[in-house]
């Protein structure tokens, strides 16, 4: 009975994370282009991937990074897989680092999102250029990567608390 409930809870949790990813991509394509800061829109998918890595660990972090990145790449229509690789690596890294640095310190989620976003965007830029794009590295770093990391931090707290609540919910119910 308990096993059945756990399996059901896990499935609901996975579906909830997938729904959040899809909702994030829809928001990034519709609402956020009008709510830009310093010329960039937030990358909610990266925030979710890093937070999932922090909360759930290496394998869920990299798995969500893979699927989130792939969905985002498909939505963009070019360089399909570049975002999947960069987000998978950053999600995995967040999950790997998490048990080593994590505690009840408030600073960890925003700091992880800040550094993780910078790393993910830099990786994406390098992969895109390796496959023939001509993204300007220095200009891209100053005008997109840096402000995007700072913008993403704004979303780190609500998403972190939403995912920690999602993680605790089935246990408390059971």
């Amino acid at each position: 009975m308990i096993v059945k409930k756990t399996v059901g809870s896990n499935l609901v949790r996975k579906l909830a994370i997938l729904a959040v990813l899809v909702a994030a991509i829809l928001l990034q394509s519709s609402l956020f282009p009008f709510w830009m800061w310093m010329g960039v829109k937030p990358d909610l998918v990266t925030v979710i991937v890093i937070i999932v890595g922090l909360v759930y660990g290496l394998v869920p972090g990299s798995t969500i990074g893979f699927f989130g990145g792939l969905l985002l790449d498909y939505s963009l229509g070019r360089l399909i897989g570049a975002g999947a690789v960069s987000k998978m690596l950053v999600g995995g890294l967040a999950g790997w680092v998490s048990p080593r640095i994590f505690g009840d310190r408030m600073i960890v989620p925003p700091l992880a999102v800040l550094v993780g976003s910078w790393l993910e965007q830099t990786l994406y830029m390098l992969i895109a250029n390796a496959f023939g794009s001509s993204l300007p590295l220095a200009k891209g770093f100053w005008m997109i990567v840096l402000p995007l990391g700072l913008f993403n931090v704004v979303f780190s707290f609500p998403i972190y608390y939403a995912f920690t609540a999602l993680k605790k919910a089935p246990r408390e119910g059971g």
């Binding site: 991509i25 829809l26 394509s29 830009m36 985002l72 963009l76 229509g77 360089l79 399909i80 897989g81």
Partner: protein, 269 residues
Amino acid sequence: MRWLTERWPILVGAFVVFILIALIYITADGRQELSPWEKTIKSGVAPIYGALSNITAWANHWVAVVRNYSHLEQENTDLRQEVEWLKRRLEAVERLEQENRSLREALGFPFPGNEQPVAAKIIARSPSNWFDKVSINRGEDADLDTGDAVVTPAGVVGRVYSVASNTAEVMLVTDDRSAFGAVVARTGDPVIVEGSGRWSELHLKPLVKEVDLRTGDQIITSAMSGIFPEGLPVGTVAAVDTGQYGLSLSAIIVPHADLARISQVFVIK
């Protein structure tokens, strides 16, 4: 066997990365032809984007109303004056258009753009900060095809890149893969206008050796653009660069159409 069971995560990871690298390579320049199931997915998602676009437009409208309340009265007066002025300009343009049509017919030239442009609404934009694109709410249902020109009254926007049944994706003129022929309106010198990526600016390169180019020059599409009808506004030259020794010439153009804000476009077939 034991070696395999111990290392399966690494093997699976390596296989996934290999597949992804192949996928990135194949799709590096984007894909114009969509498979039937992709068209179905895009057509299914289009109404969701349409609904979100309406909500966004509604929210933006009310945010703007609240922000600009104190200026509304003055703006209203200004707009009324502008409408009057535009009406007079429109009458003049209609007269010129009629005269132009008569002259073309007299000369035996076919009139360009006999077909009515298709009005479309932008329902989604690029989810990425690196590459720009927009999706519109018309597709095969309005007989749109890849390569069709997308414009606004302010200027050129881009061209249709891929089409599904009720939606199409538009490659913007600022896209790093975009390039088309244009002319300097003041001199008629032919130039190439290239996209610069996401930077809300275009790059200009001359097509002939001697080009007289100045800051503030207007750039319009040429008959040889291959994508856009002749004479559409492209943008204004914001900066001219003659290189370190004054031997090379390039310029930065600011597009007339506000590509980050437009919500309505016209597709010219």
